[in-house]
């Protein structure tokens, strides 16, 4: 029996009344926090510490991180399939525990080979937990409020950028790298155990409707015929033949290239601009905190304007920010940093919200398992862009930023080609578009 929220519109428009849905939101936020900390931002602290212990150059370990990022794509493929079989509750729990074990190995690596293997385990598990399991949870729990919910969950990215490095640096200063990672390891393992005990795969298991809407709204505006199979009628072959799948994977991947590529070099870029290392780190922290507001704002815009329009706006916004940064004129640089900050969580938001917008809630795990590997492979190209451009320009990061600006603009063009609700059955039910529903059924061969 579903609970009835005390909102006149059946809780359709609320961006805060999620009831028990706050648990998966906070759970996903924490998974993102651990993901960004362990795999991206935390490397600023762990890499020098492990390199010092192993007496190797930082660059050697950074190369291992890049390889681990690519191996993570393979994990995506395998774990995407597993997620469909056992559900995000169990899989995310297992992956968090695995990430903890791997991270202990990273901090206690006795060779570069061991570091690489452990980083592969960490990247593959916590990234899949955040994006595959987190994506599936958001799609199931918040099919029509995915934008604003992803706005909340991707705050984990910003909070990690702001907090993870200082926390880890503090721990390493007291317990060395070998013991400094232990509290993080314990934290992520506890998260996994809590998830396995308290998390549920669908809102129905907690006796509420998706988006925490009333029964009336759910019956009127949501596709009820979603239990005939777990795949929503999709097969891998069928999905790969759809233009929208490729566009969704490539466009979200390209924005991730811009975002991750810019953020991973931001401290060095700020140093290139003449800021001291400490100031550059401080700027990163401030930007990340500003980005928390940006994540929420992009989530709201995603819900209000639609994912496609928000992505177009985001692409133009980011391109302008990068041009301003490229100028090396300090007032323009300050404006650009503010603009970049607001966009930090945006691209991560789209990785789930665009596929959900296009394919809807039904069979999302299946869709996800096909989209994420492609998206991950595209995103991994950012390492290549940074490396090639910096080699070609004698290490000048601003030229890499110029390339990211071009990528953002090309991507805006690609986004305009996306039919953003093409296979979203809830959307067509809500709009009474029975003809399109029939076409979808026909395309799926039902």
């Amino acid at each position: 029996m579903a609970k009835k929220p005390k909102v006149d519109d059946g809780n359709k428009s609320s961006v805060v009344n999620f009831g028990p849905g706050w648990f998966p939101i906070i759970y996903c936020l924490l998974m993102f926090w651990f993901y960004v900390g362990m795999c991206n931002d935390g490397s600023n602290v762990t890499v020098p510490a492990v390199a010092a212990a192993l007496r190797v150059e930082n660059a050697t370990l950074l190369t291992m991180n890049s390889i681990a990022g690519l191996v993570g794509v393979v994990f995506f493929i395998l774990l995407g399939q597993l997620n469909r079989k056992i559900g995000p509750r169990w899989l995310s729990g297992i992956l968090c525990i695995l990430a903890g074990v791997g991270y202990y190995g990273v901090g206690n690596a006795s060779s570069v080979g061991m570091y690489l293997v452990c980083m592969c385990v960490v990247t593959g598990s916590i990234m899949s937990a955040g994006y595959i399991c987190g994506g599936a949870l958001v799609a199931q729990w918040f099919p029509k409020k995915k934008g604003v919910v992803m706005g909340y969950t991707t705050m984990g990215h910003n909070l990690a950028s702001a907090m993870y490095c200082p926390i880890l640096a503090f721990l390493i200063a007291r317990f060395y790298i070998t013991g400094g990672v232990v509290p993080i390891v314990i934290g992520v393992i506890i998260l996994g155990i809590v998830g396995m005990i308290f998390l549920r795969n669908t809102p129905q298991e907690r006796h509420i409707n998706p988006d925490n809407v009333s029964d009336e709204v759910f019956k009127a505006e949501y596709d009820m015929d979603d239990n005939d199979d777990d795949d929503g009628g999709w097969t891998v072959k069928n999905l790969l033949s759809k233009k929208e799948l490729w566009l969704a994977a490539i466009t979200t991947g390209l924005f991730q290239i811009c975002s991750v590529g810019v953020m991973s070099q931001l401290v060095l870029r700020n140093q290139e601009l003449g800021f001291s290392a400490n100031t550059a780190m401080l700027i990163m922290t401030v930007l990340a905190l500003v980005g928390v507001g940006g994540s929420f704002l992009i989530g709201v815009l995603d819900d209000r304007l639609g994912t496609k329009r928000t992505m177009i706006g985001f692409g133009i916004w980011y391109a302008v920010a990068l041009v301003l940064n490229f100028t090396n004129i300090m007032p323009c640089v300050y404006i650009s940093l503010f603009m970049i900050a607001l966009g930090i969580g945006g691209s991560a938001n789209f990785t789930t919200s665009l596929p959900t917008a296009i394919f809807g809630r039904q069979g999302f795990s299946k869709v996800n398992s096909v989209i994420f590997p492609i998206q991950g492979a595209v995103t991994a190209m950012q390492f290549l862009i940074n490396a090639i451009v910096q080699n070609a320009t004698g290490g000048q990061i601003r030229y890499a930023y110029l390339v990211f600006m071009a990528v953002a603009l090309v991507n805006v063009f690609l986004v305009t080609k996306v039919d953003d609700h093409r296979y979203n059955r809830d959307y067509h039910v809500q709009n009474g578009n029975t003809q399109r529903l029939a076409e979808i059924e026909a395309e799926l061969g039902k």
Binding site: A49, R55, N58, A59, L98
Partner: protein, 427 residues
């Protein structure tokens, strides 16, 4: 039912993965190492007990200059220790040194340490000459439960993991920067300092420490950007230094990196704006400064004949030690490493006698409570198992009269009782 089976399978899979990971970690720790040569100096012992002491240091490779004359001078120190007398389990004992080359490579250093422990069955280990050797050797000793005494590496670079059996005597970055400040204070600069640093451990330590130190002392430190170890093109770094309008250069570089950087700075024309250069690691030895060929360069001095300390082992003063070095090696320019080589054996001697046993726990306990005087100053290990040694500020000057290099001590504030031998000379 099907779902339950899937859940159980998934849990089993993750367990298996975790176990394989743990297994991998264990296997990598004991991976096969290449064998390399070790040289052993057996004392004529008779009935005297022999203490096998392993000694890993760079005889070859990029840090070979650190290891120059180390073998002969350490053997000289061992003779002195044996003369002074060592008691183990109530009977007299003598040190037998078994050396191995780290080749200036951390992996080779690990292999050498492992070989000394597993094949030569050393009772205790000593090591020195940069973190690329001392850190991996300590790591192996910790793993094998063998006490390891090291010198001649910055403390922060050595203390990267917890130690139970390893103890170290070195200097820290703050002492190094304090040395450099003495030169900055004298050069009439605007107070804007460019910090040169590679993307490696020593570089990271320097760039993390320099800004706060500079600010606390009325200077401003600027980061001209990190460079990759071994980089030859410094145009980006030089462009940033110009934009930052620095007129003091400091940092930590290898000799070759600094030489390349300096030549490009000179070509660029910005060298004329620089009032003072204080650089760690690049210009420690006469061989280095001959290679760099820059008069007026300032660096830290770990030890020289003017250090006003005497050995607890045999009363040897720094001045006497310098004279001994000259007679042992025939060299008139005494390297700072000579004092540290001698001190390493002084510490070994004191630990062996204090423990009175070759049991690792007894040796570690003796080291933990050690409090002695050596030629490099007092040794007392802190809670992180390292002792902080004082430094002096040296400046290399090309003497046009003798057509040779000399190192003047321009500041010795960290060392009570030591006086400077010269004053700061402009570049």
């Amino acid at each position: 039912m099907k779902k339950k089976i899937m859940k159980i399978s998934a849990l089993l899979m993750s367990g298996l993965l975790a176990i394989s990971l743990a297994g991998f970690c264990g296997n990598t720790a004991v991976r096969a190492e290449e064998a390399s040569s070790a040289s052993e100096a057996e004392p004529s012992s008779g009935d005297t007990q022999v203490i096998k002491v392993g000694f890993v240091y760079p005889k070859t490779g990029v840090y070979a200059s650190f290891g120059e004359y180390t073998e002969e001078f350490t053997n000289f120190a061992v003779d002195k220790a044996n003369e002074a007398g060592i008691q183990i389990n109530g009977s007299s004992a003598k040190i037998s040194l078994i050396t191995a080359d780290s080749q200036s490579d951390p992996r080779e250093a690990e292999a050498a340490a492992k070989r000394l422990i597993e094949e030569k069955n050393v009772d205790i280990m000593i090591t020195s000459k940069t973190a690329d050797t001392t850190v991996p050797v300590s790591k192996i000793c910790e793993k094998k439960g063998v006490v390891c005494l090291s010198v001649d590496t910055p403390d922060e670079a050595w203390a990267v993991r917890p130690h139970k059996y390893s103890f170290h005597a070195g200097f820290n970055t703050e002492s190094e920067l304090t040395c450099f400040k003495a030169a900055w204070d004298e050069c009439g600069s605007s107070g804007r300092i460019g910090v040169l640093h590679a993307n490696d451990t020593e570089g990271s330590i320097m760039i993390n420490a320099a800004p706060d130190f500079a600010e606390a002392n009325g200077y401003t430190a600027y980061d001209p950007g990190v460079y990759q170890p071994g980089q030859t093109d410094f145009s980006n770094v030089i462009r940033n230094l110009k934009n930052q309008k620095v007129d003091i250069l400091t940092g930590v570089m290898t000799t070759d990196e600094f030489k390349n950087f300096y030549e490009q700075l000179e070509e660029d024309g910005y060298l004329s704006e620089i009032k003072c250069i204080t650089i760690a690691k690049a210009a420690l030895f006469e061989r280095d400064i001959e290679n760099i060929d820059v008069s007026g360069l300032c660096t830290e001095v770990w030890w020289n004949e003017d250090f006003p300390f005497a050995s607890s082992m045999d009363g040897m003063t720094s001045e006497e030690l310098a004279a001994q070095f000259e007679s042992v090696t025939g060299k008139t320019m005494i390297p700072a490493t000579a004092g540290y080589d001698y001190a390493n054996i002084e510490i070994l001697y004191a630990v062996l006698n204090a423990a009175g046993s070759l049991d690792a726990s007894a040796l570690a306990a003796a080291a933990k409570n050690l409090e002695i005087n050596t030629v490099i100053g007092p040794i007392k290990y802190n809670e992180h198992n390292y002792s902080e040694q004082p430094l002096a500020t040296g400046q290399w000057i090309y003497d046009t009269a003798s057509l040779g290099w000399k190192q003047e001590i321009i500041n010795a504030d960290q060392i009570e009782g030591m006086e400077p031998t010269g004053s700061y000379q402009p570049l």
